[in-house]
Amino acid sequence: MANELNFGSVPAEWPFPVQYGKENRIEVDVLVVGAGVAGSMAGLMAARRGARVAVVDKAPIDVSGSGGAGLDHYLGCISNPDCAYTPEEYMELPPQGPMGGGGDHRSYIQMKGSWNNLLELEKLGLKFRDEEDEFKNASFRDDKTKIMYAYDYKTRDTVRLRGGARLKQHMRDGLVNEPNATIYERVMITSLLTDGGKPGARIAGATGLSEETGEFYVFSAKSVIICTSGVSMQGTSTWTFNSEMFGNGYRADPRNTGEGVAMAWKAGAEFNSEQQFGQAQSTGPFGWPWYGIGNPDNTWHACTIVDNKGKKLPWKDWNGKILETYEERCMPCEGQDYMGNLRPQPYIDPELIANGTYELPLWADLTDLSDEERRGIWGLMVGNEGRTRIAIYDYYNKAGFNPDTDMLQCPVMTPESFAWPRKDWFQGEPNKAAFWKADTLRGVSTDWNQMSTVEGLFASGSETSQGGAGAGSSGAYSGHRAAEYAARTQRAGLDEEQIAAEKKRVYGPVERFGEAEATISWKELWMGMNRVMQQDCGDFRTRATCEHGLLWLDSIKRHEMQLTYARNPHELSRVLECESRVAVAEVYLHLCVANFKVAEENAGKDKQMFIKFVDGELVITFKEDEWWLKAPYAPTYLENYERCTAQEKEVK
């Protein structure tokens, strides 16, 4: 062991001055909570509109966000000049993702602004085009614009980002150079402040905690934009305590613990739900390194797959037609307007695995691809995903893996897992373990201004189910709207009682440390709330089990959650993160109860359901399908968009 201070073998003093309770009061027009892709763009745009902006993240901004330091492709970039459809046309297409038909105003906002957002990133220093002509002969590149596309080479709705792994660095530089913006890194926002301290009332600001010094922050703001990534990425950690193997199981990052969901829920904001059951997205604790195991989809689309004896798997399109050429794997099939998420995939009859015709493990064979395609997957995509540039590209290369000569192992799974169409391993990262299902919670509900039902509270990015690359345009849009709102609004007064109560909650764990009863670590709290979800909100659940789950969580909240301890600012921030997880679990359970209740009463058929929590009561409301195109809104996407962005154009 190189350093005896490593792993706490010999305790070292906390390396920052510890100042629990010290208060910093900051007054701004717009507060951005979370500075991943959405939050960074929101902060930049709001500042450019003249608002005084604070951009707060619990991590360093150049590496923060669900994807870490950057990303390798911009999904659903429909407004790019080479795309086969306009965003307006795309909204009318059949719902097969990534952002097409079946989407809502938020999908449209994301698509509409996506190209402008890329141009903005280009100005900030992201050279995403193939200016050096490295991919001159590739069929995924446009010779004129030098833009490179992924997946569907005909529709060209997804742009590959050369140098995308440094995306967050460019964004941080942009924020630092913006005179109206101030960044606060390693500060975790813990709660929202509302007018008079009343849930559901107009936004007044937020509180925060430094995870370096333990200092307290009070932000007064006219508008707040939540960009903390939504529940979409938290499925696994809500159900599964990952023991100590944090890095492996997470599809998204371990700091994505649901502060945004927790604080918006407590502030009385309405949440958007679809009345259907979906799966909690994530690979679970049995996962493999992100994009670091052989598979034919997502980043690795459309890699040739061979069995253990070298026999190639045929590819099948969505019509079931066997594909002869590589090019066909990258084209929509007959009758398909666009590929979307219904991508062709290798076909293997589970029976043929069971009887030994095909032998596992399968292997991803990049060597079978053209130089451009191979380099496109390994160098351009794997090399530019923030999470994989070092962790896979650099690490595997150094470990001797050579994409020109070597094949990468696919996971061994049950034969059924490989069945056509689209079983487990084709959906991106392979996964060996079953995971719990969750009702689909689409995050904070927002209107055409991306404002929630709490006045002055905006949301962007995964928080409003606009994850991944679309977070950029979603964030930029919210930045504009929040700045406009701040410019026409009086500041709400801070409620000192609300601040004092939050301060008491935040520092409880450090004040309790040393008391005989304070025996609950942050990890124990986490695994405790997981058990509630595993038992009461698992694959089989009823209204009664979900209501029991709420009772159980409430019991934990009133007892064990009051016995947690923290020995330094790190542990303190972890306890608070686990309290956020508990809140996320509550939201899930309330959603399930609401769905059972609505089904029992046969209510809300063909309508969208919304839930919120006011004065200790769950409130369920419904809106007409496509409410975003009905009064008071205009009947088309374009009209609404132009109405909302009119002031933006005046400035330009």
Binding site: P15, D365, I390, A391
Partner: protein, 111 residues
């Protein structure tokens, strides 16, 4: 008789990142970029940072990239080390395994 001590159990993974004290200049660039606080600055200025929360590493590799002195190595835990196969010879190797071939692919990422 050798001495032994009462110490807490080790966590897993043990060493997701290792800092070479010979190469480290104590600039804390890695600690500044670690978003999970797996690496923290040494309270003694100029000394190598401390790997204090290995159990929280999410293997983003940002510390490796931040280090201008090549002092940091990332190491996947055993359960994350997958196999690869050299197509022509049929030889199988494991990432980080005992018989790994020499690095033969040196192209930097695109952009």
């Amino acid at each position: 008789m050798e001495k032994a001590y009462l110490v807490p159990n080790p966590v897993a993974p043990g060493e997701p990142v290792s800092i070479d004290p010979e190469k480290c200049v104590g600039c804390n660039s890695c600690a500044k970029r670690c978003r999970v606080q797996t690496i923290m600055p040494n309270p003694e200025r100029g000394k190598p940072p401390i790997v204090i929360y290995p159990d929280e590493c999410w293997f983003c590799g940002c510390c490796v990239e931040a280090c201008k002195h090549g002092a940091i190595k990332m190491r996947y835990p055993i359960n994350q080390r997958v196999f690869f196969k050299r197509k022509e010879t049929g030889e199988v190797f494991r990432i980080g395994g005992p018989d790994s071939p020499e690095q033969s692919y040196f192209k930097p990422p695109v952009g």
